[in-house]
């Protein structure tokens, strides 16, 4: 297998497996926020603000995987 083929496989694996963790984490975070808003609708503002910031934090992990995949595909240091 050439470096190019390995890079494509590596990029696909990075994105697909890297999306699992953040997806589960975001699901849990949203479920917890929904629960909290259902219990205390008056504090929906601060909760959703913290939720959005937290989601962005979690999502960064998936974005890191995407950046690694794009580096492999477009700026691979090992493929000529």
């Amino acid at each position: 297998m050439t470096i190019e083929m390995l890079s494509i496989i590596g990029a696909a694996i990075a994105v697909s497996f890297g999306a699992i963790g953040p997806a589960l984490g975001e699901g849990r975070a949203i479920a917890a926020a929904m629960d909290a808003i259902a219990r205390q609708p008056e504090s929906a503002g601060p909760i959703s603000r913290t939720l959005f910031v937290g989601l962005a934090m979690i999502e960064t992990m998936a974005i890191y995987c995407l950046v690694v995949a794009l580096l492999l595909l477009y700026a691979n240091p090992f493929a000529g």
Binding site: P46, R49, F52, V53, A56, M57, E59, T60, I63, Y64, L66, V67, L70, L71, Y74, A75
Partner: protein, 225 residues
Amino acid sequence: MTMEGNPLATDVLFQLGPVPISTAVVTTWAIMLVLVVISWLGMRPMRVHPGALQLMLELVVETISTQVQEIVRRDTRPYLPLLATLFLFLVFANLSAAIPGAKPPTGHVETPATLAAIVFLSVHYFGLRAQGVRGYLAHYTRPNLLLLPLNVLAEITRTFSLMVRLFGNIMSHEFVLAIVVFLAGLLLPIPFMLLGILIGLIQAYIFTVLAAVFIGAALGSSEAG
């Protein structure tokens, strides 16, 4: 199948002497011009009984000020110029994807890197000004001297992730849009474009909120993000 070009490369529009000027830089200049002209038109006669445009601008600034106030928990006036400009610039930059032919400058790695560097430097500036050199350096050794390397590392990684988050979100959305247009060009891209507006607004909001949280942490008034 040939995809849209390399998302990590810069596309040079023209040369200004020895300096290559990329499309992102030209878009940034256009956004700066638009923001300056709107503010100048709205504030040219600053009236006590404001006209429509001045009222709108005041509403925007007031809203940003309240949001920053909730995070920083002190007088927002020293931090508002930086944070509000950051937010307005990011909103315009991210939403410039909706204009046909324009590409958001935040979709290239240089613009988010510059903005993250500005946030990085201003966090230290505000922290040093509020707490003094000793007090500011001491907050790296909290809660324990053993955590000093980790605190310094966090300083670098959070700036890096601030950059990568904005760049990755905007760029990946552009990428997805290019793929969808390639697959089915007519009506299918429209919901994705609407999603792009939402993503652009949320990322502008998050970038500004995180900058405010970092500044608040440097001031010692809120927890580190």
